[in-house]
Symmetry: C2
Subunit: 486 residues, 2 copies
């Protein structure tokens, strides 16, 4: 066949054709003038984004790991990362059934091999729903129809039969993708009519980052640390009233279970929030929250990254939209079409999460055993974290009720608060903890906190023995830090 | 363990707690007032987006498929989709080695089974580079380091040893993700200083959609259909000069091989484009193009979706940035961090594409056989498509040199052009072709075309026998359509 075909199709050959290109222009052509794209000319909204979860402390942690590999001597031999909710990286094992089904989908020749029959049936069912029977085909933009049906059934079952419509389900790349899409749809107006979005403080910085990127107005409402990070409608009212002076509040985001704070709001609270959103005419965006008899517009988000499965790397997730204007839904569908579709292995994994092995299937016993074990370990680690941290003078840790995070409060000595002009005091603290102890946490300032209070976020995910070390090292460091700056 | 734990961790239980929530507000609370989010209040930039590849013709095709399933009688028994570059959906088989390695990574117990040793070694190497040795862990935001090194080596080899820096490589979710990210970075200013971006007409509508979303200015330059869709620097000059009157042109996008047009630009042309970009101080964005001695700022994009592998569903890809301002690169890294990371199975697949089996490895022979077969079939189908379409009076088809698309020009009768007020004439044509023949193509108006010219885009991906049917049906339909409106 033709050589042009190789050029056109094989990237490794295609580009060679141009490889000898020599534009032959003035030397150092670039050095003599400013770049097209520089910090002064780049998108100012992007410049304003802050993203602490992968910020300076984490970047320094990566450097230290390299230094350790190169033989640099430190008082510790490894960096323990408790900065991100990444269960598998911390040693949690994948659920066998999930991985068997995905492997069968990836390489269907394995259907001839020794695998449990239910795993094979599940793989056949997913492949049948894929274009050309391959995980390598695009799906509909909102995701594979069969999987959206499974998600709807899962929601229905969870909510005691209240119907859920597969057409309201959009599969996504993790939950982040869907949250950004919803915020994008909601953003409009200029100046005093610019869209405002209410988010909790502390918050997961995806929200503040997306709002900065969209130049939407962030409306902060504070969670009450003294009441285990509870959400108070009085505070919502205060925040929305103040915001109406300078923007158009249009949406309310609630994160439950909390991130970074790890609390679970009670039913009464969620009811109050729904009433508040209806009264104030706000679109409700809810991480993992759901309710029936909904009289507000709502989008809820879920992903395969957390819970007992912890499969972050597959980037699976979904969003359910409720009471969305049908015309807006057409625009939403168009908007998600531009990215074509979420990863198909991620979609397949989501299907298994919403539709796990059933009691009469051969994989059920192992599945329940693995899931229970994962949950049990998390529960133990949550209790241990709370107990140990609360024995340290100057650290106060609320109960870790949900999610896999804790956001303990630090009492820092005055000198430490005044010592560093460039860094927030808790950034200074976390950076020093990393340098001296090899423990990587995220400073509270990256999530927002009441002025004059200091926190860090840590995950409870490191293996039990490692988590013990982490907690002991924090105890030792906090004592030393307090003495040094007193 | 505690019941709260189930609430916190198990989504199926977590949400039940709230399921009985009854806000008990006025009935039809929603019916009595406007929704928060409606077409008047939604993001106007999103409203302006158009995305033909998954537009009305495709949506109607999905409906027709459902109708056929339900037993509705039509003159055809299946819809053949030639609207999207989705190789596997059209029956192309995946490359065995790629799928073996991914299956081994997904379910490492298979490492004990009968698989080629090189596939096992490759899987072990990838898993070792993953957090916790699992595809289920997050990676660095720019992608797994080992894989970025492999991409850099691949580029170096392709370009005869000219070095490539892994720190300039960002792995992405397909190429779309990276292209949107770059356009986002480049967008700034208001009114006459608003960023303008030069894109070819016809173009792949991802570009126009992203520019609409960002409210950046689209600067159209026309490809020359009479010269096989070649790119002429004179036309670039005309377009940029006209644009400087009303915006700030800052970037030039070239799509090579062309989509939807399927041409490959020659080396001289690419050299001219590079000189033009340098002279006009434009940032160059290039689909699958690369060059050494670069004196412009450049981002190039690549994905696992096309070529002989066609693995769209894995959403793997990368971007290489060259001569990017180091400060801007920090912002780019932060921006991609907000989405955490691309799908890990997609990253793993990309690794295999840039680093395929080597001649001394056991899987090499099969790999080459499969790749050659895929390329050979594509080459044959491209020739057949061009030959058959050019026998139809009123259709003119340029040679299909690269990519897997063709964008033939239609001569439409006057009455058909004037008949439809609501639809573009080629939309009318494609919709009728779908209804009468069950063939799904995309109208040229979705990609842009010179005023008064009409086209459709079709992929050459359907299996050879199906492609023959597609081409015959188009021939028959075009004749009938011309008669009906003459």
């Amino acid at each position: 066949f033709h050589a042009e075909w190789l050029v056109g199709f094989l990237p490794s050959h295609c580009a060679r054709v141009f490889a000898a290109t020599k534009p032959n222009m003035t030397e150092n052509g670039l050095g003599h003038r400013e770049r097209v794209l520089n910090v002064d000319t780049m998108n100012p909204n992007v410049k304003r984004i802050e993203y602490a979860v992968r910020g300076p402390v984490v970047q320094r942690a990566v450097q230290i790991e390299k230094e350790l590999k190169e033989g640099v001597k430190k008082s510790f031999t490894e960096v323990i990362k408790a900065n991100i909710g990444d269960a598998h990286a911390m040693g949690q094992k994948p659920i066998t059934f999930f991985r068997q089904v995905i492997a069968l989908c990836v390489y269907p020749d394995l259907l001839e091999d020794k695998f449990p029959e239910d795993a094979k049936n599940r793989a056949r069912r997913i492949l049948q729903a894929c274009g050309g029977g391959s995980l390598g085909a695009y799906s509909a933009s909102s995701g594979i129809e069969v999987i959206r049906q499974d998600v709807a059934k899962y929601i229905e079952k969870r909510d005691s039969g209240i119907p859920s419509n597969p057409d309201d389900i959009y599969l996504s790349t993790g939950a982040s993708d869907a949250i950004v899409t919803m915020l994008k749809l909601l953003t409009a107006g200029e100046g005093k009519t610019r869209t405002g979005v209410m988010i909790p403080i502390p918050q997961y910085p995806l929200y503040s980052a997306a709002l900065a990127e969209l130049a939407a107005v962030q409306i902060s409402y504070y969670l009450d640390e003294d009441k285990c990070w509870s959400l108070d409608v009085g505070e919502l009212r205060r925040a929305v009233k103040a915001a109406r002076e300078h923007c158009n509040p249009r949406a309310l985001c609630i994160i439950n279970p909390g991130n970074p704070t790890g609390q679970v709001q009670n039913r009464q609270c969620i009811e109050d929030v729904i009433r508040f959103a209806a009264e104030e005419h706000l679109f409700l965006m809810a991480d993992e929250v759901y309710q029936d008899n909904v009289v507000v517009e709502l989008a809820s988000f879920h992903s395969t990254s957390k819970c007992y499965m912890g499969e972050c790397g597959f980037r699976g997730g979904y969003m359910e939209v409720i009471n969305m204007d049908p015309e807006v839904k057409l625009h939403l569908t168009k908007l998600v079409s531009v990215r074509l579709c979420p990863s198909i292995p991620g979609q397949a994994l989501l299907d298994l999460v919403v539709n796990p092995p059933q009691p009469d299937e051969p994989s059920y016993a192992t599945f329940i055993k693995e899931r229970t074990a994962n949950l049990h370990i998390l529960s133990e680690k949550a209790k241990m974290t709370e107990q140990v941290l609360n024995t340290v003078p100057g650290i106060h840790c609320n109960p870790v009720q949900g999610a896999m995070y804790t956001f303990p409060r630090l009492t820092l000595p005055e000198k430490a608060i005044n010592a560093e002009q460039e860094q927030a005091p808790d950034m200074f603290y976390c950076m020093k903890l990393l340098e001296e102890m090899g423990i990587c946490l995220v400073p509270g300032s990256g999530f927002g906190q009441r002025d004059g209070t200091y926190h860090f976020r840590m995950t409870i995910l490191p293996a039990t023995e490692k988590l013990k070390i982490v907690l002991e090292k924090i105890r030792e460091f906090h004592k030393r830090f307090t003495e040094e700056f007193s």
